[in-house]
Amino acid sequence: MYVAVKGGEAAILATHDLVAQARRGDAAVPEISVAQIREQQGLSCARVMNEGSLYDADLAALALKQAQGDVIEAAFLMRAYRTTLPRFGSSEPVDTARMAIRRRVSATYKDLPGGQVLGPTYDYTHRLFDFALMDNEGVMVGLDPTISGREGATAAGDARVKPEHDVASLDAHMPRVPDILGAEGLMEPEVPPEGDPRPFDLTREPVSFPADRDVRLQAMARGDEGFLLGLGYSVQRGFGGNHPFVGEIRVGEVSVEFIPEELGFAVDLGEITLTECQMVNQFAGSKDVAPQFTRGYGLSFGHSERKAMSMSLVDRALKCREFGEAAEYPAQQDEFVLYHSDNVEAAGFVEHLKLPHYVDFQGELELIRRIRHEREQRLAGENEALPEAAE
């Protein structure tokens, strides 16, 4: 018999009030605006857009505000909102070769065409606190000039350049690094399959295994950064047989083109920021394939290179079947990776454990009591039998 228990409405209403208060914090401190979060917490917004699988920086900022900065809760809000929207269709595949570059680095070639463009990165900062960001008068001055740029700006010998005056803009054409190796025939070619088929959409159709690469890439694009980072790390540490180099990371703006039915030609919807990572992996060759470099690919919304790098590591690991490698480790097993990378699903199943399970638990309680009772009776019976046996 299923017993429904009701109650708690008043408590739930009160908790809604309380969470609003907790979210607001000390009323003496000014409230942050959604625009401030969008502009000043952009990397957080990028993560919410990726894991919420919806590109909209305003909504990501709102989600972060509403969720008190809880990224997974914010991604959940994005996913829930997305389900209320009609889908107009699919874009033309974005062309990352025509990206307006803000950052582009390669660990494989020093002197590549277009150059190494560091862009905005924390890579070369000292990870010292910049207390100047605490803003108030009288607080300590910034300690890490590599972040704030406030110290030493007027010192003689300042090597900084003034972009507005001194610098020419970047080359319009920045070749993708794997294509340079591809021209030599040393890189696994990357061409669309016969007929350039529409990609599988895991939001519309159930996934089956083994999963094709389009399914895997979609799942990872919306997957949890931390989970993919851990898996990528496991590949590097030996739980996967790859030896990766960053062929290229690029960050910048890409146009999104869409062909509306009523127009019949592609319209430019505007630009989105993307991060792309091309991981280059050594491959000793197999019976059918000559020794060459193989690719791992990562693409993500916003500036999110840790995510794109992790994705590209796991993408290569998941290609093990195509290269005749044994799938011995978690990062090589598509079912394991795809079923556990979605943090909204994972959080839902883990966190549902805190919801009432009173009836289930009552059942288990009675079962344990009965087993213990039976065990005690059995032991008592054996004890009665024992003395006779001893004599």
């Binding site: 857009m49 699988s53 919806l54 590109y55 909209d56 909504l59 997305r82 929207l85 009609p86 889908r87 107009f88 269709g89 699919s90 874009s91 033309e92 595949p93 974005v94 990352t96 070769a97 803000r102 150059g115 190494q116 463009v117 560091l118 862009g119 905005p120 350049v161 972009p163 001194d166 020419a168 803009s169 970047l170 993708r176 990357e190 061409v191 399959p193 990609p199 599988f200 959409d201 895991l202 690469r213 389009d214 399914v215 890439l217 979609q218 694009a221 999104v256 869409f258 009523e262 127009l263 319209v267 430019d268 919807l269 505007g270 630009e271 989105i272 091309q278 690919y297 993500s300 919304f301």
Partner: protein, 134 residues
């Protein structure tokens, strides 16, 4: 349309002006999504990267000119104004003031792109090699 989709609502409102022409709304501003596709390795198999919000609107001016607007984001007001502007641009003679104003907007967008590119170029690495024992 590429210029208008990148323009702010304020910029479009300024181009339309205070004297908004009479128009029928054929498709009211509607926000939905477009699934953004990528290609594995940049040039290979297509895959679904994730969706993006898009708002569209279709209007018809009294003189019969149809105007379309499709742009990223959720700004319905901007979509309607952009659709009106699109219709008026189709009726305006080449070189008309409205076309010149849109050209000026395109130039501002291009200048902003150029500045962003220069800022990135300022972080370009100049390698030099230290020759030991020379």
């Amino acid at each position: 349309m590429a210029v208008l989709s990148r323009a702010s609502r304020a910029e479009i409102a300024q181009l339309v002006g205070t004297d908004v022409p009479r128009h029928d709304i054929l498709k009211a501003p509607e926000t939905g999504t477009v699934m953004v596709e990528g290609r594995a390795g940049g040039a290979g198999r297509r895959f679904n990267l994730g969706e993006a919000t898009v708002t569209r609107c279709i209007i018809r001016l009294d003189d019969g000119a149809m105007g379309f607007s499709y742009a990223l984001g959720r700004d319905g007001r901007k979509a309607r104004l952009a659709a009106i502007l699109d219709a008026r641009l189709q009726r305006a003679a080449p070189g008309a003031a409205l076309h010149r104003a849109v050209d000026a907007l395109a130039e501002r967008q291009s200048a902003a792109r150029d500045l962003a590119s220069r800022k990135a170029a300022a972080t370009k690495v100049d390698f030099f090699t230290l020759v030991r024992g020379a």
